[in-house]
Amino acid sequence: MKAKVGVYICECGPNISERVDIEKISEELLSSGEYDDVELVVKNYGLLCSGDGKTYLEEEITSNAFTHLVIAACSPRDHNTTFINVCKKTDLNPFLYKMVNIREHCAWIIPDKDKATEKAVQYIRGGIKRVLYQSELFEKQLDITPDVLILGGGIAGMEAALALAGEERTVFLVERSSELGGVSAGLNRLLPRQGGEVNKLSSYRGEVENNEHIKLYLDSEIKSVIGFLGNYEVTIGSGDEEEGVELVVGAVIVATGFKLPEINGLPGFDFSEKDEVHSSIEIERMMATDRKLAMRNGEEPKSVALVHCGGRSERGYCSQICCSYMMKIAGYIKDQSTEIEVVEYFRDLCLPYKEDQKFYDEIAARGVEFRRFGKLEVDGASVVSTGMDGAESKQEYDMVIVAPAMLPAEGTEALAGLLEIPLHETGFFEEEHQSTNAIGTTTDGIFIIGAAQGPRGISSSMLFAQASAGRISTQLIPGQKITPEVKVSEILEAYCTGCLTCLEVCSYGAIYFDDDRAISVVNEAVCRGCGNCFGSCPSGALRTKHFTNTQLMKEVAEAVRER
């Protein structure tokens, strides 16, 4: 069958019509004799994007039974979607349509009308050539499961579980240890802005355990995962067992939290086990269980130094919450006895929550001294600090409490490998975009929340958890299907040499290696059509649908061909 190509030139009011000679374009195209093998229809219209214009176009496509369509108009950024939607109302597959920008690229930038017209003709010729090499593509609808797997039963994981579990959505909550709660379970009190009492956190455990839509797997870990958004097959097991429970879930939330380092390994901290040097979390637990701050001999210390930023320089990041929780610990001590001397050694006060400045003022007013340091070392239970005035001072305390930097949880790297998601240079999981997609990863349907994503406290972790619930509940709707990307990559088996370059450059884990055939294979449900693999394939085996080499080269060659 002979192709029948419709070329519709939008006048864009005076924007195109006054600056390029539309009649001349039609003449040149129709009289060139270059299109003998196709049936070419060239028409122009006042404003194709207007309501009338769209109706006109729809009727033209149908009545002419075009096999291909070229629209010469404005930037595709303005109206590509508009014309795709027009095609969708007709029998013409939208992938057999092509938009050519003769407004921004010709009319608006070339003052000489003849030259603008000439360029527009060349562009349209390129467009016609390209559209003839385009292929029909069809959107597929995939069934999904709305169920969710959450890794980690700390505060972030529990919050996400409670936010998502319901009649139509089961949550599988996997916790490596034998109980829920994570680090926050050991806390004595919360910050004033969090309401102070830990009751709310304690009640969470019961709520999760009693929720019939949350299936709990304690002492368990994820063993394997395969699949894509809406359809992940995972295996859950405990210890070294190979066998495990197999689950199908639509999304995976990583909420594996953080760990705190041993402080005596930190540079600048030199003390023995007998010295009264403690990590902040030890003090929280001491206060929570014994309700009293005491030294190893059981006596109350008379002087306490609170040292901020333990290991911050080496880690290369601020842990966000230490300043505020160290003030909280200062409060515990002053609650116990106003007689105890408390000095907070801080480098910069980082109080990114609006309520915390007031908390600082209150703590300072209770006689806690805040001492800024430029440099600091802990030697036994002595603190050697250099202030901003350059003066060095050494002071001995009965007790030194250190806020160590938060580190990625044990096993973070292995889990990243298993899930095929990247790690940030700080060792935490890496988000897809720092600002606009902080919980998404390069794999659709795998989310990172809480301190697994980066150092953060309870409030922020719970907020991240709610955000993951927002993403999943709007994306995986029970009973509905999803439509994956159509313009994906494909590999031509005969050309693939199995060099694995494409696996390296794929950011989305969408390519795997088939050992039997010794070639790379694209998982179309995961591929987002970025073209990285296409650009890197040395043997020309890869192509990205709708952006094939042939399509691009034919268009360019035709547009620049001398006549």
């Binding site: 005076p14 980066g454 719970m462 709610q466």
Partner: protein, 441 residues
């Protein structure tokens, strides 16, 4: 049906992101924005921290998605007037201001600007540039449809019979008889995403803003740097139009007055230092700072890459004692150093890193919605629910810097959380009575 509809107030990144998630889940979203353009504060920045990413390129696809989404009804120049009812069945009165240009007929070609005889200060550009009485606030505004300022247009304010824009328009898109509209919508939930503002630096007399042309507010500096801004990215000092060679950036401006750390000023101040060095390689930049607040895992590295490279970081022991004064044709910044000893930096430009404060209309909006503010004037979220974005009224949520100072990341996270809360709330609502009676018969 109101339980399938959501009102979002404010079309910045937080409002747009929440709207897109809900619309993609099939909810009908009414997105109300008081300005003639959507995009919020982020589009005022040429580049955003921490990746020096082109802000417009980051936000424009979101704006396009919003405008092209069939489930989102974007209402610009619009404000919420009254709210009745309760969760699941809010009845909201919206005043949709006249644009005087047809959203359907205008193609955004811009032929109408030049013939307009009236020039006025461009408020969106921090009054650093002028615009006509028919205008888009900045190049690249979306929706790309101009607005007529009815106070300054000589036809609309009754001064004369000028018809210049209508004559220049080839599409008959100018509607000089356009009127404000009142409309009523029914929604199940409301998300407040009205953003924030910056502290009025002119109220701090010792810092010289308003007295010296070389002293700039942070938003003025953003627009001065922006290639689509009033100077097309030429960084010149107003009045003299000279390029600065020595610049001081003063951190923590207004922190003591507002009573909190604004959490983003350190980062944007460092960004400014980099901008300056990038455009004026010989410039000498000094950041006068107290606490450095760089709290994301990526932020300290950003700081380390700029400290000592683009700027000299000078510690000040009391930010309240920083003083800006005239020094011949230039400026002098005095501050106490780490020993409390007074130091001075001679510069020709000063940028004041001002605190983030609630927008002017926040209190009035809270009144209309019947919700509480916190002690600082931001929308109060329930502290008893940790990490909460729920306001004091059921069914009304808050996202972004309307709730308090925050970076883009946290604003978007709150928007996503708000979408989650709305989904959970509306899906748990009982079916409306009307639907039951239908099935009953």
């Amino acid at each position: 049906m109101s339980r399938d509809s959501v009102l979002i107030i404010g079309a910045g990144l937080a409002g747009m992101k929440a709207g897109l998630l809900l619309a993609n889940a099939g909810k009908k979203v009414y997105l109300v924005e008081k300005l003639p353009l959507i995009g919020g504060m982020a589009i005022k920045d040429e580049e955003s921290f921490p990746n020096f990413e082109c802000s417009t390129c980051m936000v424009a696809p979101v704006q396009q998605d919003v405008l092209q989404n069939p489930h989102i009804e974007t209402m610009t120049l619009s404000t919420v007037e009254t709210v009745e009812g309760s969760v699941g069945e809010f009845k909201v009165n919206i005043k949709k201001g006249a644009r005087y240009v047809s959203m359907t007929d205008c193609i955004g070609c811009g032929m109408c600007y030049e013939p307009c005889p009236v020039s006025i200060n461009n408020e969106w550009e921090e009054d650093l540039g002028e615009m006509k009485a028919i205008y888009v606030p900045t190049a690249g505004s979306l929706p790309n449809v101009p607005t007529i300022d009815p106070q300054h247009c000589t036809r609309l304010n009754g001064s004369d019979e000028c018809n210049a824009c209508a004559e220049a328009c080839m599409f008959g898109a100018i509607k000089l008889d356009d009127k404000d509209e009142e409309l009523v919508i029914e929604v199940g939930a409301i998300v407040i995403a009205t953003g924030s503002s910056t502290y009025d630096v002119s109220s701090l007399e010792t810092l010289g803003y308003g007295s010296f042309p070389g002293v700039f507010s942070p938003l003025e500096f953003e627009r001065l740097f922006a290639s689509n801004g009033p100077t097309e990215g030429e960084m010149t000092i107003r009045d003299t139009e000279s390029v600065p060679s020595k610049i001081a950036i003063v951190h923590c401006v207004g922190r003591k007055e507002v009573g909190y750390c604004s959490s983003v000023c350190c980062m944007y101040s460092l960004k400014f230092a980099h901008f300056l060095k990038h455009k004026i390689p010989d410039a000498v930049v000094t950041n006068i700072h107290s606490d450095i607040c760089v709290h994301d895992k990526t932020y300290q590295k950003f700081y380390e890459g700029i400290n000592g490279v683009d700027t000299e970081m000078r510690f000040c022991s009391s930010m309240a004692d920083v003083c800006v004064s005239g020094n011949g044709s230039g400026l002098k910044v005095n501050y106490p150093d780490g020993k409390g000893k007074e130091q001075a930096v001679e510069v020709d430009m000063v940028i004041l890193a001002a605190a983030i404060v609630p927008t002017e209309g926040t209190a009035a909006l809270a009144g209309i919605l019947g919700i509480e503010l916190d002690g600082f004037g931001f929308i109060r979220s329930l502290s008893e629910n940790i990490g909460s974005i729920e306001t004091s009224r059921e069914g009304i949520f808050v996202a972004g810097s309307a709730e308090g100072p925050k970076d883009i990341q946290t604003s978007v996270i709150q928007a996503e959380a708000a979408a989650g809360k709305v989904m959970a709330l509306l899906s748990a609502m009982p079916e409306p009575v009307a639907a039951e009676s239908e099935t009953g018969e």
